[in-house]
């Protein structure tokens, strides 16, 4: 890599950090005289009010502003937009401490611009499952709906949701979409691998037991590919005559370990998205496996 670039970048980074030092201290100091929750609310409240004013006028809200001092017990709630990320939820901020501020009364309802929170608690992303039907479980914003394609998940009043989906062998990518009442949307994608239990057809020496199995070792040749369609070659050693499965979300293959205990298989992943790494599992029929990351780098 270019040393000149590194030098220029490091200088720019140091100067930017230095410029932030003094200014951020001011803001940090302003938050140091109350409990953290109150501090943030106190610091942010005037800013939020201003934001509601400015953004409101920008999107056509009619706002009535009456300058006043708010007493602790009568602080009005201010609905504010929060960060647009897959991990945030809509919320309302109420100043809990006496703060000189401005009361804002909106003549039209506040607009909820925050996407609903959506998480998947089970199964884990990348999990390998042996059941054809799997129940996906997660949490979303209470009142939101969750769909997987055309299928609607059951969502309880606390936002806990669940839905059973049928898997196909290999990689399965499930996309869950949550919608809140305001129409905001959050999508989360999870990939699970369905590997049906192998009906073990033991190699010729059917008396072989798990402890007598030969060594299993798998390797990926490249880990990445610039050619289209992309591929990798997996090789290793295993029990002679046993079956080797190579499984990924974008391509799979099987081969058999030869009489000398070696295997080699070229697996194409034609649908692999450019520059997005994913896991490829190489597994033998006895359940022993190795995982490798693969990334398609077209044009590099």
């Amino acid at each position: 890599m270019s040393l000149e670039l590194d030098g220029r970048a490091r200088r720019a980074a140091e100067n930017l950090k230095a410029s932030v030092e003094g200014a951020s201290l001011l803001l940090a100091e302003r938050t140091s005289k109350a409990r953290p929750g109150r501090r943030l609310a106190a610091v942010l409240r005037p800013a939020w009010v201003a934001a509601v004013l400015i953004l409101g006028s920008a999107v056509g809200f009619a706002l009535v502003v009456e300058p006043t001092t708010v007493e602790p017990t009568s602080s009005p709630a201010t609905t504010v937009p929060l960060p647009t990320t897959s991990m945030t939820t809509s919320t309302a901020t109420t100043a809990a401490a006496p703060v000189p501020t401005t009361t804002v009364t909106a003549s039209s309802p506040a607009v909820d611009l925050s996407p609903p929170f959506l998480s998947i608690t089970s199964p884990e992303d990348g999990a390998t499952l042996e059941e054809k039907t799997v129940e996906f479980v997660g949490v979303t914003e209470p009142g939101a709906t969750v769909n997987a394609g055309p299928y609607r998940a059951q969502v309880d009043e606390k936002g806990n949701w669940r839905i059973k989906l049928v898997l196909t062998p290999g990689g399965n990518q499930a996309r869950f979409v949550a919608h809140d009442a305001a129409g905001n949307e959050t999508a989360v994608v999870v990939t699970v691998f369905y590997e049906p239990p192998v009906t073990t057809t033991m190699p010729a020496t059917t008396t072989t037991t798990q402890t007598e199995l030969g060594e299993f070792d798998a390797n990926a040749t490249y880990g990445s590919c610039t050619e289209d369609p992309p591929f990798d070659v997996y090789y290793g050693v295993g029990e002679p005559g046993s079956t080797i499965y190579v499984v990924s979300p974008y391509g799979s293959g099987t081969t058999t370990v030869n009489g000398e205990g070696h295997f080699e298989i070229q697996v194409f992943v034609p649908e692999a998205p450019p520059e997005e790494g994913f896991l490829v599992k190489v597994k033998d029929q006895y359940g022993r496996q190795e995982s490798f990351e693969f990334v398609f780098l077209p044009g590099i």
């Binding site: 890599m1 000149e4 950090k17 951020s24 803001l27 940090a28 647009t84 990351e293």
Partner: protein, 170 residues
């Protein structure tokens, strides 16, 4: 009602976290948004979100990664950036608080070029140079695999080198 011990512990932990991470998060917001006025507000917004979810986020291995992910996403969102800027300008008008100081032209040019990169590349570059983050850390913050983070970083540096008329990155 008096807070429970558990709440006090949580709040103190948040304060420590806030003080330790705030400047780094403001730097990241400034680098990625280019807004002298709005960077602090973006950072505050991210910390506000963290505070509201602190019971959950504090249990994460790296709560700092969560805040950086939020601020990195907000900073490259034009809507969020403009909203934060509007808030900050309004606050400056009321409190006469100054925005972050202006950068030297050469540094300003550099960060402008970083912001001109595709979003993930600019985020990876900012995390790499501003915070000396490892590829693994960048991957965690950007919610992608290390290989993907490496690609973003590689592409970003390559594009930057070309834009700066430097020796092409290899």
């Amino acid at each position: 009602m008096a807070p429970t011990d558990e709440l006090v512990v949580g709040q103190e932990a948040f304060e420590t976290f806030y003080r330790r991470e705030f400047r780094g998060v403001v730097s990241l917001a400034y680098a990625l948004s280019g807004s002298r006025a709005g960077a602090e507000d973006l950072a505050q917004e991210a910390f506000m979100a963290a505070h509201q979810r602190w019971a959950r986020i504090s249990a994460y291995d790296k709560p700092a990664a969560w805040v950086r992910r939020v601020v990195a996403n907000m900073a490259i969102s034009a809507f969020r950036r403009k909203a934060a800027e509007a808030r900050a300008l309004a606050r400056i008008a009321v409190h006469r608080q100054e925005a972050l100081p202006e950068l030297e032209p050469e540094d300003e040019e550099f960060w402008n070029l970083v912001r001109g990169l595709p979003a993930k590349q600019s985020q990876a570059i900012a995390l790499f140079y501003l915070e000396d983050r490892s590829v693994a850390d960048i991957a965690q913050i950007l919610e992608c695999s290390p290989a993907t983070a490496k690609v973003h970083l590689f592409r970003g540096r390559q594009n930057l080198a070309v834009k700066l008329n430097l020796e092409t990155a290899r």
